[in-house]
Symmetry: D2
Subunit: 485 residues, 4 copies
């Protein structure tokens, strides 16, 4: 079970087929969130919205896209931890306020959400969802201090902390925002006379848009009829903190981020892993699909044949059913089936990109041994995950992270593997071709670039609850004319 | 085509089956709105919400009701002019704010909505729906002037104008509010140790709740663990203005409002109509179902036999389809079919409760004549509708109201009827047994109890639009560090 | 709870809007079956079919009707005892066979179905549904004895026994068939150059078709490009046996059957009831909607005022939910609510058209007494139901028929009524204006016009089951080359 | 666009979770048909059926599986050329007949279907679907010549010609049948005390069943309480004709057929291709997923690095939408996106398993060239497809098969490739490790093992139509008593 992504964002300005192109863009970003999808279009006069639970292809059809008229659109794919009842939380969020209608698509996680929400509620703001992205809209809707209408975008962005790649749409502008650490990717493309914002470059490729550049950490990009303007919202230099796990697992292999192709990086991680942890064996077997590129790199570097002994069933989707407890252990096999002939009497290296809880990996090792593999060597193309993420990735709690609780040798024994080795932190960084200072690696090294205090949150929530005194009592204290019934 | 209702509201406090009872209550109030339905329950800790488009029986099922746990609930049935895409506007509305979660169910129409919304947006409030009821929640969420938490319910209610019967639920209270003119009905009932608020008494009957009393115009009723408290929010005496059309058409005949049973009132209107406009005829035929009670009264008073010559097809619902233009004229007959044998060679009096546009009535008269009726006399159990309603009823514009544009004799000729007569305004009031000063009869007499200025609304909307200047320009004026791309 | 109808049938020949007109026709026949609906159209070359579970308005939409091209169509509404899984049993049934495609719509019940099916299966016929109507298609598909193709319609119809009003469509003909006893209604209408077959005349009225005549018992009507031909399939005179309960309850009041308008007959039954069982009382109250016409007749004859004290909720549909056992007794009230003011201190006569199990009636009497009625007199506009129906009506078993197990006085006590009286059999027949020899009244008098032996059925089913020996054994006996695995 | 499969079949006997295991089995066979799925279970007394349009995971849920009680079940996944309206054609088919209920799941295509259907209809048989599998049921239902009940399974199977792997369920037996040429796969497995029949071994693996053996061509296997019996239905030796395209494309790589693992065969085809058609190049790129195994073999044999430069979007399903003509050319890219960095300035070999129409391949070559590939060499791991399949695979007509109409060099030019080469027929056979006499290779070599005459079919259909004379005329000739209306 891999950690889940939180979101993909996409926006387009100045194209007659804005909603359809956004549909394609979301398709390419589907891997970043499969729980809900939404598109908001604008013709400069009216916003049109469609959101739904499910995959992009399930949420939209031709009639719906046809109804989303206008030459601007913003789209969102979302992963959420809860079910169909949370359609209210599906994005893009849309509101009406002082400066007109606004739509927002957000990838990331605000670390000062509770404090901001507390402050805004005290001022009388009314919240309709439980997602932190709604806070940004409320900040933007506040009256500007300097009396101008509409100019507190910058002030709003400077108030929020944490991870945020945003695409915002107003009646006549498309705005891209990336937090000052650059936790999540966001890039700019050009399509004819129009402009595109996207979480990843693979969405630009799909619609034949030309990649222009990554949005810089801390940058705000405003696209309107005058073209593209850029504002550096956080001029003082801050530490960069791009999520290295995007290279390891999240981003699509055909995307390029910070100038490095993801496929290339993953294959190099495999090569580096082979250099760090060689082992004498007969075949290298990837765990599809997450381990294929690293396994290919390992195989090339180690000059050991590559065999795709695990076959993935492409029809296994979110809706897969576990009809009974009795036969639940079939489910590991539903997704991946082993070809026993390929591994019998062989010394096997299996390569995957992470071991989070260990249960699935243990099942794979077991299947290999049952099929007659002489030795099973597990190689992981990143370091052990020791810490949860507070910037938008749904890792399990620390007490469920295998590597946070056991030594490598204890894990090896649990997996029943003949050897187990992880890529080193330095090796992982080296494979990216970029410097360590570019990355957030908090899930590996515990060094969190932006402070986040869950206790503060809890305190705020408790205070808030205590405040609800009841109207009856309040009225009574005011000594209104009270009649007992 | 009758004018459409806007809403039915229902709430219950202190019963273990709160959501199920609300389901039944909404069932009894289904005639007040068939476009969407919703229930919000509370167990004192958490709100649970379910809303959907369609009839109460389509929106809810056993699993959903089972999930709406708690001993408090508020429900709403709604008529809206737009389609399925407006699920966002379905009620009860729910929000989170300074004083915790609030749910609101609203029947009526605010006449100062645009002004209030304008003012609130200027203050930075963020609106997610286009319904005026959301304004009330924003007012309640504002910080209290006197520093108390939670005590601006009263201030909020005093700010809004127009027609409103509200059921509001907070984490631990159920609140009923009726506007100072008492446009729409609202009553209080008791069920065991629990309390019930409902638009009409028929919902109390269904769940075996005891009717306690009508909520008074301008009264706020707060129900919590200490029992029921009552506040008169508008102590200064105001004119009463109960919508007399509730007696004529809207309310269910088995409801009792202001001490008068609706069936009784309608039958009395028929008797009064017979006294005012007698005619020598063989049979009295009601237009089902709206004209049945007045026709019964007319028949009794005139001592002319009552014949149900029009048969209603009970399976005709909202979803009835008009497959082609060619055969669209079947549709009048789909709903009501005449039994020709009953009217052949007879002098027929048909009784209905209103003629709004005249087309349907003309079709009925025509059908009777084709079937061989010798004479057709049309009797209407209320006065001619001359004016639109601004307090929550969806009448057509004045230029589509037949009586506002033509004389009675012109209408008679259009209908091809041998005679046509309406109940007088005085006769209508007399039939209620109450005084003229109790009622709003603006749709008949043009005397609007609360001022409403649609031009002011339009002005505000235009001003609001002009204000959207765009973030890019605003930023530019602030002379931020702008880089051209 | 009334007994359920089994079906409505409709067909049209020679109209460019055949499917749309059939849709309207089924709408008018919706009261005869609400569980499924279907239409099959033909353009002379191809059949097009759409069937679904639910009401006519739920099963069809504009696109579907648009796709049902052709100038011929046959339609069916059905009541079935089982749920959505039985879409396979929805009608019209369609098959392909020796003589091309055939569609059939059937109202009624074959009494020799088991024997015929047994015989056909022995011959090697393959059945895909469990409905008896499929048997007719198999008979028609058999090779003709005299060597003609396609001419065994007559032979087929002569083989089947029981109740059947059929509309059959072949590639170029529309055929109407009524069984020799004429149990169920079927009539012929004309619409421009086209022809219409319908269970009831109300469907002709709706589409402005001219009523031509009832199909005679035992008659086959064949409509094709040469016009309408009639064959008397059973020339020898047989006893007529029209279901008198069609007049009492099933047929729509605006239909005319055998020259008698159903509304008229029902009102006359009420008058006759008043003559047979007068009682001194203050008001006559109908049980809506089934009792309204008889109550009107009773009121007129007895000169006692008619009050509609029970109010029917028109929004209660098939999908009404009973969320919990606790509050199930609300359900009687969900459908009908009493206006207590109308009955308080009154002597009340309530009129209904039947008492099947007695539970609902008991609840009504109880409600009246709770509301303060001084006396409650129950009058039923037909005789007591003593026997089940084997010709297509879903009555309960005899042991659940109240009147079959208790005396009238015992039932009165059970109902807690002050008096109880039923219309006599002679009075019922008299009210129709036709002779006793015209009717099947088996549910009242036990005289079944066509023999039906449920034991024979059971025997056949057991024999059939015993026959399933298994292929393995059969093969073994043939001494094939058997290899043990 | 690959040719579509027609079906996967699965059955289980003697397991308490029969339906759930069938669900898993169908999951593993999902690649053989994605249009509809169905399961029929039996508890020895009653059949329970559920069928639906869509993927296995969409058609079933826990409640449905729970309702499919019994220790026997048969399942089917189907590809059909028509849409959702053809639920009637979904399998397994179920009928009732002389020998009780029968369910059938069929993979393949009968070549004498029209003749048999013609003959059966002449005998009076009634057909409800248009699928040839229904014919088998009708044959089985015919009375046995020798007077035994139930023993014409063998006679029935001997009547049908063409390709058929069948799983048949009666009330107490599960029967597997494979046609005498063995066109389609079918195998037997054991699970505890129960038995399993499946199209492919991958379904046995998933449910942990032990593979026993392939069902032999011409073999009937009967499983009942006495165990497993085998009958050789066609004792005379016939030519074997297993579809070689199962090895090339259809079967899952983790299945083993005729003792050869499919993955192994495909990789060997790649090696053989490298031997037959070597070319000097920098990288070998597979077209996912169909070309991956052959590409791996090619890469190993040629010692040229393997690069997965095309990235497949796993979220592209059947429901993918083509919103507008304008941007339809995005769709090739929706499924596969190229990583341009990997191919720039490289000489690229792309390996796929077939070129059917050529359009997709042309798009791939084009994409590679646009990305800067210096040379593009296309290698196909099977010979050119020259002929349609009449045994159950939906190939396009000959005039749309590229290789049937153009020379290899013409195709190369059309593709804009620098070279193009196909695996030879001999090389393909050699890679399987089996003899040429084992296979049907008609789509490659035009040698059809079983005769099929489409003209005969057409003739039969025309004769059938001419026969429909109309009932009216037939009756007239019989000189029945005709009354003009």
């Amino acid at each position: 079970m891999h950690p889940k992504h939180y979101c993909g964002v996409f926006g387009i300005y100045g194209h007659p087929n804005a909603a359809e192109l956004t549909y394609y863009g979301l398709y390419a970003l589907q891997h970043r969130g499969q729980e809900s999808a939404g598109i908001v279009s604008s013709d400069g006069k009216q916003f049109r919205v469609h959101r739904g639970m499910g995959l992009v292809s399930q949420v939209f059809n031709g009639d719906i896209l046809h109804g989303l008229v206008g030459s601007m659109a913003v789209g969102h794919t979302r992963y959420s931890t809860t079910g169909s009842s949370h359609i209210n939380n599906a994005q893009p969020l849309t509101i009406n306020c002082r400066i007109g209608p606004i739509a927002i698509a957000h990838n990331g996680n605000l670390t000062n959400a509770a404090q901001l929400r507390d402050e805004l509620e005290e001022r009388g703001q009314v919240f309709q969802t439980t997602v932190d992205s709604e806070i940004i809209l409320h900040l933007m809707a506040q009256p500007s201090l300097n009396g101008h209408h509409g100019n507190n975008l910058l002030e709003s962005i400077r108030r929020i902390e944490g991870a945020f790649s945003l695409v915002i749409m107003t009646e006549n502008e498309l705005i891209g925002v990336r937090d000052p650490h650059g936790f999540r990717p966001l890039c700019l493309g050009q399509l004819g006379d129009g402009w595109v914002l996207s979480s990843e470059t693979c969405a630009l490729d799909l619609i034949h848009a030309k990649f222009v550049r990554d949005i810089a950490p801390g940058e705000i990009v405003i696209i309107n009829q005058d073209g593209v303007k850029s504002v550096q919202a956080f001029p003082e230099q801050q530490r960069r903190a791009f999520c290295i796990f995007e290279y390891v697992y999240f981003a699509r292999p055909d995307s390029t981020i910070a100038g490095r192709n993801v496929y290339d990086v993953r294959k190099e991680m495999g090569r580096q892993l082979a250099r760090e942890h060689p082992v004498d064996a007969d075949i290298v077997v990837p765990v599809p699909d997450s381990g294929v590129y690293a396994a290919l790199g390992y195989s090339e570097e180690a000059r050991i044949p590559y065999e795709m002994a695990f076959i993935r069933n492409h029809y296994v989707g979110r809706s897969f059913l576990q009809p009974s407890q009795l036969i639940r252990d079939f489910n590991v096999r539903v997704k991946l089936n082993l070809i026993p002939e390929l591994v019998k009497d062989k010394r096997v290296i299996i390569v995957d990109d992470s071991i989070v809880r260990g249960t699935t990996c243990k099942a794979r090792v077991n299947t290999l041994k049952e099929a007659g593999a002489k030795e099973v060597h597990v190689r992981v193309s990143c370091p052990p995950h020791m810490n949860p993420c507070v910037y938008g990735i749904d890792f399990p709690d620390r007490n469920k992270l295998m590597a946070a609780n056991y030594s490598v040798d204890e894990i090896r024994k649990y997996l029943n593997a003949d050897s187990l080795a992880y890529l080193s932190q330095a090796g992982m960084v080296k494979a990216t071709g970029l410097g360590k200072e570019s990355f957030c690696m908090a899930c590996y090294d515990g060094d969190y670039p932006v402070r986040y205090d869950p206790k503060a949150d809890k305190h705020i929530m408790e205070r808030r609850r205590a405040r609800v005194e009841g109207f009856g009592e309040a009225l009574a204290k005011d000594e209104m004319q009270i009649k007992l019934l």
